[in-house]
Each structure stands twice: as structure tokens, then as C-alpha cells.
Symmetry: C2
Subunit: 189 residues, 2 copies
């Protein structure tokens, strides 16, 4: 997606060869017009796929999922990372390993909001090691729903997530795939 | 807002006299069409106020802020509750007391994303004790920006937040104010 690549080149900041900051438009400040273009692009990519729910994970995935959902005309459900007294006791849970924090954390979705045979599109801002998507896939499977697609804004192609998910047969589409960020230069696939 | 009140009566669940669950449409599963009506309503309420940025707090505030921002044609910034290596070192910080958890937590916004003289509208899903809004107000003031309004979807009128904020002269507008939830019945103001 050219608009996204331009945005990454113009506004993204390569912190080191593993970390790209896009907090001016994607995950801290949110450029809503731009997110609408992202949403339209996901709809175009998945236009022939029957989808009745979008699943994401807090926090930055929520923005993308909500704006995109307007083009799919479906509700969004976001998996929670923290325990909350407002969350049902009946939840699907999965463990996700965080490479940043060096430990597992739990993600939870109330059993009420993913039903058997739901056709679920997972959306998220970044794909690196793929652990968050695998956790969401686990929850979709516990609910006996169908993971019909995964849409990612920025895939770090130099980490294993993309390969792992594609090798599992997951219908993964990334709007931009970065192959390397050596010497502060973003190289797209 | 009648649509919201009907939604609370039809889909909300009073857990006890302090806790209302609206996770089927507002803060776990997200009813995007309904959030668009919420967004339009906020725009109508604040149509004569000059606003150039919407500020909210992760996680559930993000959904409301993003959808509403489309009607204001402004970017969203969300305050982060967790430390992240992707967050700038230069941040505005504030301490927020959580009654649920019985302790303080920090909220942070990168200094890049709130500028002096910005006219900020704060949006959030719930107002109870008002501590999160006071934390956001503190951050807005550190940045020498202007807090021109606060829009809340559901105000728990039986808790102190609304009174505290209005007594400070804050331009607070809540789409629904609940005066009590005794005997499992929601009573609106």
C-alpha cells in the first residue's frame, strides 16, 4: 500500500534495526483520515471473504479495528490484557509470550462475544513474532469459530511471525512488509 | 441521548448498585454503528467549540475517540497506562488513583503530541470518581494546552466525579447520567 509506505518513510522513525516508531500516526497519536484509508484497503483485500466479526487486542489494535469495521459493517471485539472486574468470569483465555517483557501474559475474551461458526477477521497494527495473533487464533478455535483472515498494517518481515503464520495456512495479508531496517533505512519487500 | 439510554436499559447489566456492564456494545464488544451515533452526538454538543485534538486513555476510550474524531476531523491521542519501549522518553506524566485496584497508576503522553495552545477535547466511556479525567487535565496543563471540553458516554451520577469536575469549571457533557442502580434498576437523571 503506497500511502502507508510513504507514511512510514516520511513519519516513521527507525530507532534501531528492530524498532520502528510510528507513534505519530498509528499507535499513540492516531491519524484518523489515514486509518480510514487503511480500513478501505483491508475491505478491498478481504472483499470476497465472509466476515461477521473483527477481533483485535488492546490497545492500539482497537483504533484500526474500529475504523476498518465501518467498511465491513460488523462489530469489533477486543481481547483484554488485564483482569477487570467488569469482565465476565466465563472467558476464553490464551497465554501470549512477550519478547519485549520476557514473560507470558494472558489475553481474555468473554465467551459471549465469540460464537461457534463466527467468521473472524483478526486485525492488528504490527506483526513481529506472531505470538499475539497465535493467542487470538487459539481463542477463536476454543470458541469453534473460524479464523478467515488476518490483516496487519506493518509486518516486520525480518522476524518470524509472517513465515510461521503463512506456513500454518493462515490467510495473512500485511499492508506493508519491512525486510530490513539496517543503517536506519527501511527496506520494503 | 435517548438511543444510549435505550441501549443501556436493553443491553446493560446491573451487577450491583455500583457496577453497570455495557460490554456488549461499549467496552469489550464494540457496536460500531452505535459508536457512530455517539460520535455525531458529541459533535453536535461541541459544535461551537474550537477543537483541534481529541485526547483519551487506553483502552476502551480509544474506540469512542476514533469514531468521534471523524466528525471533528481532528487526530486522536491516547494516554498510555503501561511503559513501552516504543514510547518517547520525553513524556508528560500524571498519577491516577484507581479505586478498583486501590493504588496509583501512571499515565503518559509523548510531549510531541500535545502542543502549547492545542484545544483539547477529552473523551471517555465512563465517569465515576473522575480521577482519569483529572490526570488527563493535568497533562493538558503541563503542555500549556487548553482543555476545552470533556465528553463522557456514561456518567455515574452517584459518584463524585461529575460534581468535582463541574465545580472546577470544566465544560463536562455526559450523554447519559445514571443517578442510581438500586434494586437492579437504572435510574437516569
Amino acid at each position: 500500500m503506497k500511502l502507508l509506505k510513504d507514511k512510514i518513510l516520511n513519519q516513521g522513525k527507525v530507532v534501531d534495526k528492530h524498532i520502528l516508531k510510528v507513534d505519530s500516526f498509528l499507535n499513540h497519536q492516531l491519524d484518523i483520515k489515514f486509518l480510514n484509508e487503511i480500513g478501505k484497503e483491508f475491505k478491498e483485500i478481504f472483499k470476497d471473504t465472509h466476515i461477521n466479526k473483527i477481533l483485535t487486542i488492546e490497545a492500539s489494535g482497537i483504533a484500526i479495528a474500529c475504523i476498518a469495521a465501518q467498511y465491513f459493517n460488523v462489530p469489533v471485539v477486543f481481547a483484554k490484557k488485564t483482569e477487570s472486574k467488569n469482565l465476565d468470569k466465563e472467558t476464553y483465555e490464551s497465554e501470549v509470550y512477550s519478547f519485549t517483557k520476557g514473560k507470558n501474559y494472558k489475553i481474555r475474551v468473554s465467551k459471549k462475544y465469540i460464537e461457534k461458526n463466527d467468521n473472524i477477521l483478526v486485525l492488528d497494527d504490527f506483526l513481529a513474532n506472531g505470538r499475539a495473533v497465535l493467542g487470538l487464533k487459539d481463542i477463536v478455535e476454543q470458541a469453534e469459530a473460524n479464523l478467515v483472515g488476518v490483516g496487519i498494517v506493518i509486518e516486520k518481515g525480518f522476524q518470524e511471525g509472517g513465515t510461521v503464520l503463512r506456513n500454518m495456512g493462515i490467510n495473512l495479508k500485511s499492508l506493508a512488509i519491512i525486510d530490513s531496517m539496517e543503517e536506519n533505512r527501511v527496506k520494503f519487500r
